[in-house]
């Protein structure tokens, strides 16, 4: 059970306080309700580029990192298709420093040309390092537009193409900040050994004079229901052919989301999933095969991906895979396996809940989904899932017309 208190400042900033008396550290986590899905198609990669600029100095403080490091702390951030999340971890007795820094960059950035110029280059190098200079690195740049035709999930957080990052202007940056980086679009969590009154007083002190801004309306093109099987084959200079089957699945708040999550765990069990037993053990079609979900807030993807063994054709594998998926649809998993999956989830949760950083991030994320207390309730949803639920959802999911298939054909094989 993760206990927390919740309050809101007069400018709309939502604050969560999680008391933990066992740690000498404190966490300040700030979630901004802005992700790559909020970008326009002509300026993709902007939410992520902006995350970099948030470290390039704020209106009163030239260097964010330096000040936090002086206080013995460290920080980082990440951008997803849905959110941008910043966190600071520092000795609890220096909490004020983190609040000073976070409030100043919520107030306004310094907007220096130098910072924009350098971070554009850094992000371009990140693009190269992660997406261009790795075998299979561009898979998500190709798979997203295959699976999504209208919804902005069709581009990756790094952006559709490098030119969008190269062309970002200071004007874009200012407008983006004004629209999305305001108290009414943020959720902040403080965790550590403090008293609630102290936290309220400190939050008011540092944040209450920031203009509330207006929570931007989210108008996102909804994805039409997929009614046809989609397929794309690309040749790449890689040693092994790879496959990515992407099935459209329920959005984050739908009950089916949780069923899909357990189903993906079932199909990913090391050395014992049906995929492993049939496609690797019985007949060695693949060297590796896994199933996972993207976990996005809007309609997400259920992915089955892996690599073919030498000499195996996509066609042979494809037939075999659909046979296995049909089996999953026909036969419910055993009660024993479901229990085992649930125990594994409980164990994973017990480990994840140990650190105040994880707890802080999750509290903010659940609050964004509607209620921070979701952190304590989610396991109840998982516990109620039955073998029938899973079978029934598998039948909905594993339809050919619900599938987009990306094949990476190895030139070297």
């Amino acid at each position: 059970m993760v206990k927390f208190e919740r309050f809101q400042l007069s400018n709309g900033l939502k604050v969560i306080f999680h008391k933990d008396t066992s740690t000498p550290m404190a966490v300040v986590n700030v979630l901004y309700d802005i992700g790559a899905r909020d970008e326009s198609e002509e300026k993709t990669g902007f939410a992520h580029l902006f995350e970099h600029l948030m470290f390039g100095g704020s209106v009163n403080i030239p260097d964010f990192d330096t000040e936090l490091q002086k206080a013995g702390g460290e920080n980082n951030a990440f951008t997803s298709n849905d959110i941008t999340n910043y966190y600071d971890v520092l000795p609890a007795n220096n909490l004020n420093t983190a609040l000073w820094l976070e409030s100043d960059r919520m107030l306004s950035l310094a907007f220096t040309e130098k910072s924009l110029e350098v971070q554009r280059s850094v992000v371009i190098e990140e693009f190269k390092q992660r997406y261009l200079n790795q075998p299979y690195g561009d898979v998500w740049l190709e798979l997203r537009p295959l699976a999504y035709k209208k919804h902005p999930y069709k581009w990756a957080t790094i952006g559709k193409e490098i030119s969008h990052i190269e062309n970002a202007t200071m004007e874009d940056v200012r407008a983006f900040f004004k629209k999305y980086y305001c108290p009414s679009n943020a959720i902040l969590c403080i965790a550590g050994n403090f008293e609630l009154d102290f936290i309220k007083e400190r939050m008011n002190y540092w944040f209450s004079d920031i203009d509330s801004g207006k929570k931007p309306a989210r108008i996102i093109a909804s994805e039409p229901k997929q009614i046809e099987f989609r397929e794309l084959e690309l040749e790449r200079n890689v040693p092994a052919s790879a496959f990515y089957y992407a099935f459209k699945m329920a959005e984050r708040k739908h009950p089916d989301y949780y069923i899909a999550d357990i189903l993906s765990d079932s199909l990913s069990r090391e050395k014992s999933s049906l995929l492993y037993l049939k496609l690797k053990k019985e007949k060695p079609f693949v060297s590796e095969i896994v199933a996972y979900i993207t976990g996005s807030i809007d309609e997400g993807l259920f992915i089955i991906s892996g690599k073919l063994n030498d000499g195996i054709s996509f066609e042979d594998f494809d037939n075999a895979l659909w046979e296995v998926l049909n089996e999953v649809c026909l036969n419910p998993i055993e009660e024993k396996e479901l229990n085992s999956l649930k125990i594994k989830m409980q164990t994973a949760r017990a480990f994840q809940e140990q650190g105040i950083l994880n707890r802080s991030m999750n509290l903010c994320y659940f609050e964004l989904l509607g209620d921070a207390n979701g952190i304590n309730e989610e396991h109840l949803i998982y516990e109620q899932i039955t073998c029938d639920h899973i079978q029934s959802y598998a039948n909905e999911l594993f339809q050919k017309t619900n599938c987009s298939l990306l094949k990476i054909k190895a030139q070297q094989a």
Binding site: Q69, P91, E126, A240, K271, N309, I343
Partner: protein
């Protein structure tokens, strides 16, 4: 009106409370450490075997580490994995030059049962040929894929030159896989695991009775003799280039053999290393990423071996900028050798390092790992008391002298792949 221009006053870290795990001696060379102060239901159980890559062939050691749960006469690999799944357990096998670490994560109520599955799997492992073949197929494919990554190529070449002439320098090549025999695997296992247990670590609020049972039953694997390790490394100096067609970035590794916590310069050097490249505000990051934008990241590390250690700078930079980036790395090192680190920067690093130490000691798992990282060199928590004093008292002259003594550019191995 809030004074936003001025930083809030800072509080110094006065004291860190270190908590040592309980030590139970399993054999002459094998301790069992138990951290019992865990305020939740989780537990971790680690087994460290004297079975790292330098104990024989690189390839065989890595295959054995991958086959520890491959099956017995009575159970298949799938059976064993299912049993662990039913207990909600996760496990992880890590292979290093000098040891193999097998870690289990589970709720504390299940740890004893997890141990019994491991005990049976390890005692009776029979390395079925089909499991060996499957692993070899997988590993060959992984190696081929890794060889497409400039970072992997650079790292391999760096290790070859860093440790040349010793077992530590050996790398697995694709063709090595074709000559693997099951007998070699069985022999390696018998030699290095059956009596190869160097350490057991348990973190978790278990009952004493259960802990005693795990300890007693682990005794049969204890090492019979004190493990010996290489300590005489001399890195090949100079520049080594690997070409990779079509690479848009080059991976760079720069470093040399050095020392571990047992050397009296270790503490001072670790502070110097932080300033150079071991935190986000380091000189390398500030210059090469935050000023020039040549890279997404650059860092330097001080890595340790049982009787030695090494220093390494690593980055991946746009191929067109690699020469400029290397020149800037050289400039930053020379700056540390010529100029004194300014007071303000040194003060920042002092605060940063103490804050990070506090974080490294936060919670029973972190505390245990902190303990293990000194115990590995026959040291205890007094090491960190000395560290705190060193961080507080080191001066700019000493740092400059260390940079001159250990960071001479012509003593470095420089590898560029791309």
């Amino acid at each position: 009106m809030i004074k936003r221009k001025n930083a809030p006053s800072l509080q110094a870290i006065e004291k860190i409370n270190f908590i040592s795990p309980v030590k139970i001696q399993l054999g002459e060379h094998t301790p069992f450490f138990w951290m019992k102060e865990v305020p939740n239901e989780t537990a971790r159980l680690d087994f460290i075997f004297h079975a790292g890559t330098t104990r024989g062939s690189n390839l065989i050691s890595s295959l054995v580490a991958g086959l520890l749960f491959s099956g017995t006469n009575k159970k298949t690999a799938t059976d064993i994995h299912n049993e662990l799944d039913d207990l909600g357990a996760f496990f992880d096998v890590g292979l290093g030059h000098e040891s193999v670490l097998v870690s289990f994560y589970a709720l504390k109520k299940n740890i004893l049962a997890v141990f019994k599955i491991f005990e049976d799997a390890l005692e009776h492992v029979n390395f079925p040929q089909n499991e060996i073949d499957e692993l070899i197929t997988d590993r060959k494919q992984k190696l081929k894929i890794n060889c497409e990554k400039v970072g992997f190529l650079a790292q391999r070449e760096f290790q070859k030159n860093l440790f040349h002439g010793t077992n530590y320098a050996r790398q697995t090549e694709l063709e090595d896989y074709d000559t693997v025999r099951r007998e070699e695997i069985i022999e390696y296992f018998s030699k290095n695991y059956k009596n190869g247990l160097r350490k057991v670590v348990l973190v978790g609020a278990l009952d004493e009775v259960q802990v005693t049972e795990i300890a007693e039953k682990s005794k049969k694997w204890c090492l019979h003799e004190e493990p010996l390790f290489e300590n005489n490394f001399k890195n090949n100096k100079g520049v080594f280039q690997l070409k990779k067609k079509d690479a848009v970035q080059s991976a760079v590794r720069i470093g040399k053999t050095l020392f571990n916590k047992n050397n009296s310069d270790f503490l001072g050097f670790s502070i110097l290393n932080t300033i150079l490249g071991d935190y986000f505000g380091s000189r390398l990051m500030k210059n090469i990423r935050e000023d020039k934008g040549y890279t997404y990241g650059i860092s330097s590390t001080e890595a340790e071996l049982a009787k030695s250690g090494y220093f390494m700078i690593g980055t991946e930079v746009g191929s067109a900028q690699k020469d400029l980036a290397i020149q800037e790395i050289k400039n930053e090192i020379e700056r540390l050798q010529k100029d004194l680190v300014p007071d303000e920067e040194l003060e920042l690093v002092r605060n940063y390092l103490l804050g990070q130490l506090l974080k490294s000691a936060d919670g029973p798992y972190a505390m245990t790992d902190l303990f293990l990282s000194v115990d590995a060199y026959d040291l205890d928590f007094s090491f960190y008391e000395n560290y705190i004093q060193k961080v507080k008292n080191i001066d700019a002259e000493e740092l400059r002298a260390l940079a001159v003594k250990y960071l001479a550019w012509d003593s470095m191995t420089i590898v560029i792949a791309g």
